[in-house]
């Protein structure tokens, strides 16, 4: 019975004298390794050199504003429901009079928190959001944290700045995925 087509016929035939002498095989092996010695290394020196990971990369979370600077999130909680790691939590609040330039609809998220230790960057929150408010940036990674109380990201880390709007475009000219906001603007 044949389970795979990769099986090899084994034979235990006697080695010839040339094979028993080892030396030809040894020289052959040495020739192979010396070729690798002079080959160009495929290593990317990561912290110094960064590769552009494409528009599908899922990095730092962002809460979008619209063109007039109003937060799009209506605190419907669908992202929190969709989140398999249960990283997202929020507190909804009602928009007061005079806050129309801050929030797009009557309901908004007074508190919006993502626990970055729990987040697995699956992007399901992005897909669940009916208001296109939450995105995972393709051009910025979450910075390294050293303290535990830096881990829960609140609105001040998440809501996008109006002078640093996030646009997702596939740009083949960008060679690296930048982590600095200025580089993002230059690329888009």
């Amino acid at each position: 019975m044949q389970l795979t087509n990769r099986s090899k016929q084994v034979s235990n035939k006697e080695m010839t004298l040339a094979e028993k002498m080892y030396l030809p095989a040894v020289v052959g092996g040495l020739a192979i390794t010396i070729r690798h010695f002079f080959r160009k290394k495929p290593t990317i020196q990561y912290p110094e050199v960064k590769k552009y990971l494409g528009p599908v990369y899922r990095g730092h979370h962002i809460l979008k504003r619209d063109e007039q600077g109003r937060e799009r999130c209506t605190a419907c909680g669908l992202c929190a429901v969709a989140c398999p790691a249960e990283a997202i939590s929020m507190v909804a609040a009602e928009r007061k009079k005079g806050e129309e330039n801050l929030y797009r609809e009557e309901k908004y998220a007074a508190v919006y928190e993502i626990n970055m230790l729990r987040c697995i960057f699956c992007g399901l929150c992005e897909e669940a959001c009916p208001k296109q408010a939450v995105y995972l940036r393709h051009d910025r990674m979450v910075p390294v944290f050293q303290e535990r109380d830096e881990v829960v990201y609140g609105k001040e880390q998440l809501v996008e700045k109006m002078d640093d709007r996030y646009i997702r475009v596939a740009n083949s000219e960008v060679k690296a995925t930048p982590t600095e906001p200025s580089l993002t603007r230059a690329a888009t």
Partner: protein, 388 residues
């Protein structure tokens, strides 16, 4: 002896000692770099430019690790082991002739001092004596650890060294017969012209010597004293911190010394083509003393070029060939290399009798012909019927 000679000798010994240590230190770096390059990696490149400070960082780590001695170990022997390994490795570098000689005039007396730590008539004998003592470092360390795995590693090292030292010595005998002297300097002097380098007159002896040198240094493919799968670690399972560092360091010194000996015995030492012509031209243009010293410096550089090539070769082989199985090693040592080296001695003797230096090529040619014939007559691979 003249005081000036003593002082200059002292300086030479210090320089050679320093160079040996420096090369051994940077061999660890080179090893990692070569390994990385052979495996399409970059290797250490964080400490200093291109990672050049890596050996210092490694040494610092070694020094600050806990210096652990097992409670059941015999304490003094446990400490003595790495010291012995280091001592024998360092002692063996003293008879290598690194270059011809340096000349200088002092108090109207002309001095000519060979660039060699000690110039003795029995250099080859001395080196075999000292190198074979190296196994005691491993034996003592493995025994004193009071650990079955360490002991097994030590015993494997001992039996490996026994099976290789005979072939190593015998392959050397042919060169001693041709030179008629045990002095390393005399053997190097014999190979003045390019086609009289011993590698051309003794091809079989060279291959045997090279392989045995690998085994003597306990390096891959013959690094049987250590083996993670069977011995957990090897003879140094119980060693930590700088004591382990000494063992590893001794291995690299051994590698340097072996490379130096391979190049001195088989590759003409500090000789290079047109050496005498270049030397006399330099002496004519720069004067007898300065020209001679410059020529000596060139010889020094050439010799180190050869040594570096062989150190590279050691590493190249290490990252190419897998470790030999234990019985394969024994078979190779006792059943293949000892008969072959005896044959080599006999044929060399016959060649000397009939004044034909390249006699041992006959063995090589016969072996190549036999190999080709055996390939031609090789039975077709048996066709095993496929089970349906």
């Amino acid at each position: 002896m003249d005081l000036t000679i003593l002082i200059v000798k002292g300086i030479i010994i210090l320089v050679i000692f320093g160079i040996t240590l420096l090369i051994a230190t940077y061999s660890t770096y080179a090893e990692r770099k070569v390994a990385a390059f052979l495996q399409d990696r970059i290797g250490p490149n964080r400490a200093g430019p291109w990672g050049l400070l890596q050996p210092i960082a490694d040494a610092g780590k070694m020094f600050f690790k806990e210096d652990f001695i097992p409670s059941q170990a015999s304490k003094w022997l446990f400490i003595l082991g790495p010291c012995l390994a280091m001592l024998t490795a360092l002692m063996s570098s003293s008879v290598i002739p690194f270059a011809d000689s340096i000349r200088f005039a002092w108090n109207k007396v002309n001095y000519e001092i060979p660039v060699q730590a000690i110039e003795i008539n029995i250099g080859v004998l001395y080196i075999f004596g000292v190198v074979s003592l190296g196994v005691y470092g491993i034996m003592v360390g493995g025994w004193a650890s009071n650990n079955k795995f360490s002991l097994l590693g030590a015993i494997r090292a001992a039996s490996q060294n026994i099976s290789y030292e005979i072939a190593l010595g015998l392959s050397m005998i042919a060169i001693l017969m041709m030179t008629g002297s045990l002095s390393v300097r005399a053997i190097v002097a014999e190979q003045a012209s390019f086609f009289e380098w011993n590698v051309f007159t003794q091809p079989l002896g060279f291959i045997i010597f090279l392989t045995c040198a690998f085994a003597e240094c306990n390096r891959t493919p013959f690094d049987l004293p250590e083996c993670e799968t069977e011995l957990v670690g090897g003879y140094h399972t119980e060693y930590s911190s700088m004591k382990l560092g000494f063992y590893l360091f001794a291995e690299y010194i051994n590698m340097f010394v072996s490379s130096a000996f391979i190049s001195a015995l088989y590759f003409g030492g500090f000789h290079y083509p047109f050496m005498n012509e270049i030397g006399s031209a330099l002496e004519k243009s720069l004067g007898a003393i300065a020209g001679h010293n410059l020529a000596t410096a060139i010889q020094f550089v050439v010799f180190f070029g050869k040594i570096f090539f062989f150190i590279f070769f050691f590493m190249w082989v290490r990252w190419t060939l897998p470790r030999f199985r234990y019985d394969q090693l024994m078979n190779l040592g006792w059943k293949t290399f000892i008969p072959l080296s005896i044959l080599n001695v006999v044929v060399t003797g016959a060649g000397l009798l009939y004044n034909f230096k390249y006699a041992t090529w006959l063995i090589a040619i016969v072996m190549i012909v036999l190999a080709v014939m055996s390939t031609a007559r090789a039975p077709k691979q048996a066709v095993i019927p496929q089970r349906s």
